[in-house]
Symmetry: C2
Subunit: 304 residues, 2 copies
């Protein structure tokens, strides 16, 4: 039921295929959640969102927070680069303002929005310093430092998937080599497993992280090795983040985080073997409960 | 000349062999600088410092900032671990208070203090987000984020030398493997060069980073290869820091920073090849001018 004085924010999470829209209360409760298909033309998307919001959302919302999978200049509300959407320098805040979406209008990288959601909702705001890793097809990241969203000089901070962990390693989608994402991204996991099956003369059939998880649980050797390798690199990533940020919490979110029982124990062992003692003692590693909606909720809660 | 209303802070930089003491003005100007030998017994060191300060420093100082090479719990003023000094859980603030050093008394990791000095003095406070790398025998680091010293959950943040850049790399003094320090520390540079000379059947004689720099300038092949390797890994480190922190400035300090003309061009090439475009454009890489006193000045300026 909608509260009488709603105090609601509108959250949008713009992904490559769908946009999630949610009405979110001050503590992160979702009062209504809908999805619309993503139009790749930015103007058409803005119009579709404007229409959808006008026909659906109540009046008097406190503002709109938008998470977008891409490199975002939050100060100007511009999406500098979003490869999944084919966008370059899209003035998204401007386009959505024309469609009269509730102001103020905040545009943020989707992994940053998820980090903010993790900080505010999953951890109830008690941890001042939160590092969030989004484990999906790639590896995203967001930083909440001293209780605030940390964006850096131009909004690009927190590209945690793009720290190099092998100097001459596997090529990464970003153009670099040896990035964490090239080992702990879902695409990389599947690619490695497929190669390994073939090397052994097996025909693996269609592979996804989910299929590899099921096979690993059933004892399949290649699948188990693929997740061991995933754990190893994730553990190195966590250890680096601990030595750099000394956070109160490390949050794992994204589609692959559900599979944590499979890979997290190994990752934590590797992390503890490598990171400094004091900050390892100070950190809690938390697997997000509501990964799927953390981004849209976090985006909404970025509205002050 | 001492100003009439001094508004001075006392800075101390506690190293393995010497303690630097300085009277520092509000903009970082040093009015007097002395050194005393480091007593490894913490009580004896505190007494020696108390005596030195009483016989030397004027009255009415605003407070004392202390930088220590080690893992520091700033909230409690405790040095948790300082391998060079052989200290474990030394209540340094308490010991110095007993000696009546000017209060408030702030204890901080020395690389953090140097980062604060770089932010306040070298960059004149104009950069909100500053990542400082201390290039010496090891690789230290300090973070100034959103204009404030970033310490993390328990004061251990900013161990930039201990991010892994080779998953199965060279053992590091910290117990981990493949840390940036194991490639871009002075000790590691010398060790690699010595091995390389021997592998070629040469007797290298005594080696230091300075000697290797002189030889590289004179065209020595091994020395040049050693610095090329150093550049490569430093470039990876810088690239990682840019993708994580998106800082306005990256500052290089420490004894090896003077040799920047030798290794920085290569490091910047590697950095630009790897890091994301927008944050690379936003960053300036700055070599500290006064590396030797940045720590003691930064420590003093941590006093509010």
């Amino acid at each position: 039921m909608m509260p009488r004085k709603p105090n609601l924010r509108l959250g949008l999470d713009v992904g490559g295929t769908q946009v999630k829209m949610a009405l979110v209360g001050p503590t992160g409760k979702i009062f209504d959640l809908r999805t619309v298909n993503t139009e790749k033309n930015p103007g058409a998307l803005a119009r579709a969102l404007g229409e959808a919001v006008r026909s659906w959302a109540p009046r008097g919302l406190r503002g709109t927070g938008v998470g977008v999978a891409g490199d975002v200049d939050g100060d100007r509300g511009v999406v500098r680069f979003a490869p999944n959407l084919g966008w370059k320098n899209v003035p998204l805040a401007e386009l959505l303002k024309r469609e009269k979406l509730p102001a103020p209008l905040i545009v943020e990288n989707d992994a940053n929005a998820a980090a903010w959601g993790a900080h505010r909702v999953e951890l109830k705001g008690v941890c001042r310093n939160v590092v969030a890793l989004t484990l999906g097809t790639g590896v995203g990241g967001g930083l909440v430092l001293e209780g605030r969203m940390y964006r850096g000089a131009c909004g690009s901070a927190g590209e945690l998937g793009h720290m190099v962990v092998e100097s001459q390693g596997v090529p990464c989608a970003c153009g670099n080599r040896g990035c964490l994402e090239a080992y702990a991204g879902g695409v990389s996991l599947v690619r490695w497993a497929r190669r390994e099956y073939r090397r052994r003369g097996d025909t693996p059939g269609p592979l996804t992280p989910k299929i590899l998880a099921d096979r690993a649980r059933a004892g399949d050797r290649v699948a188990r090795a693929a997740w061991r390798r995933y754990s190893f690199y994730l553990g190195i990533g966590l250890s680096n983040l601990i030595n750099l940020f000394n956070p109160e919490a490390l949050v794992l979110t994204g589609g692959l985080a559900q599979g944590a029982p499979l890979f997290l124990p190994g990752a934590l062992r590797e992390m503890k073997r490598r990171a400094f003692t004091a900050p390892v003692r100070a950190v809690r590693v938390h697997v997000a409960k509501d990964s799927a909606t953390l981004g849209v909720v976090g985006a909404a809660l970025l509205v002050p």
